[in-house]
Symmetry: C2
Subunit: 266 residues, 2 copies
């Protein structure tokens, strides 16, 4: 079957009006679908209110035991259940899960090398059985960015990675399209100009744009993630703003379509 | 099919060692099963740390918008996902849900009469389809005490009530046994002596014990709930300590068995 996997980030989740608008569009997306979300800013805010100081090393958050509890509460509880309740009101039969539920995503605590990231999990295995069961019953899985190690521990895991891993696992038996919604209109030639979107990109163009420093810093892991998903069988990956999701799904020009082979472009 | 529905309360949830011991026993419970939990004390603690003052009227908690967020985080996120991860480590394929997930429990905000309880939901409908699907796939639903109104709002709902409502709804097509685990060994003749358990109770005995003031205050809604579940088709209701769950399931003498008819006693 055809499955759309949509990842939304903090810029949508942290703004109740944007979230409502996005969910309305997501509800209009036809066919089988899965929603993946993180929720960084809200977790930091609750952490601060609880007196837990964010511990950042080289710009990356260290997840100690207290921070893991906050992330579990905010991602797995507050954000996930609010999204589910709102989708239910839109007649979308959603069900919220973490990677622990139904043993969906098993991960391993990241080994300590130079930095101890704490309770952060690197994905080891996606068990698609639960997703198959839910999608078959027209239930929409809403996945928060928490995994488990099957030894009783929850682990904090990057939401982009979770979306990619679910997409590649589901791509074994299905036609999967992966949508990354973020705060830019797509891959931009001028990062301050949303009109400068690169509408299609393949590995050759990606290499050139990296060489010319048009694509740099945070966009590189995002795109590496996207090309890795294509390598592993995902049909199409899209990058753009949440409000353009339905346009993109209908094949209308919006955001950046990431395609593996040059011949896909013509 | 035969289904065991087990409700645990704060005395188990708030003590990590007791929770581990309980989950080990729950894992040994044979056949299809559903776990229902609340988690009051932990929610109050987090609320206090967030600077949210508990608002009690006549001993009952008022759920304002901020308190609902805390309850959603703590019940639906922290407690629910910790239980699921621990069960997964025990090779129990658990999946955590609220009443919003899969539209499991629709409720209505309690009408304001003398007291405005805030975001508290009275159960209107249990849709057993999700539970049927999960149990059929040998997945164990772990239900936290949150419901939704199908209009986009989450609502705080009593966990005993949720357990009873799920039990009576599942009893339409199944043989259901309902276990209420709490901080006493059962219905006690002397409330300070766990050895004074009334091992079997029916409505006649219940009426007598109420008249003699042996059963009073908090036990009355619990038992009313239990008899109501029996009235609506639940086969058996048990009240006792979490550590006696497996003994009770094997029919060994422990806790209080609640039975509708006098002839069940002989």
């Amino acid at each position: 079957m055809k499955i759309s996997i949509v990842k939304i980030g903090g810029n949508v989740i942290d703004d109740p009006q944007k979230l409502d608008e996005f969910l309305y569009l997501f509800a209009r997306l036809e066919g089988k679908k899965i929603l993946v979300h993180g929720g960084g800013v809200m977790a930091s805010k609750f952490g601060e209110r609880l007196g837990i100081q964010p511990n950042m090393v080289d710009g990356r958050r260290i997840t100690d035991a207290e921070t893991l509890d906050v992330v579990t509460m905010v991602y797995g509880g507050l954000i996930n259940k609010k999204i589910v309740a709102k989708l239910q009101a839109l007649e979308q039969n959603a069900l919220g899960v973490t990677g622990a539920d139904g043993n969906l995503i098993r991960s391993a605590k990241r080994p300590v090398k130079d930095i101890d990231y704490g309770f952060v999990g690197d994905v080891k295995e996606v068990d698609t059985e639960l997703l198959d069961t839910l999608l078959e019953k027209d239930i929409i899985p809403v996945v928060s960015a928490i995994t488990h190690d099957k030894k009783g521990n929850l682990l904090n895991t990057n939401a982009d990675t979770i979306a990619s891993e679910i997409a590649t696992s589901m791509a074994v038996k299905n036609t999967v399209r992966l949508y990354f919604c973020f705060n830019k209109a797509g891959v931009l030639i001028d990062e301050n100009n949303d009109d400068s979107v690169v509408t299609k990109i393949n590995e050759d163009i990606y290499d050139e744009l990296k060489k010319d420093k048009v694509i740099h810093s945070g966009m590189i892991p995002k795109l590496d993630n996207a090309f890795s998903a294509l390598d592993k069988g995902v049909s199409n990956v899209w990058l753009g703003k949440a409000e353009n999701l339905v346009l993109a799904a209908k094949g209308k020009k919006s955001g950046t379509n990431i395609e593996k082979h040059r011949y896909d472009l013509y």
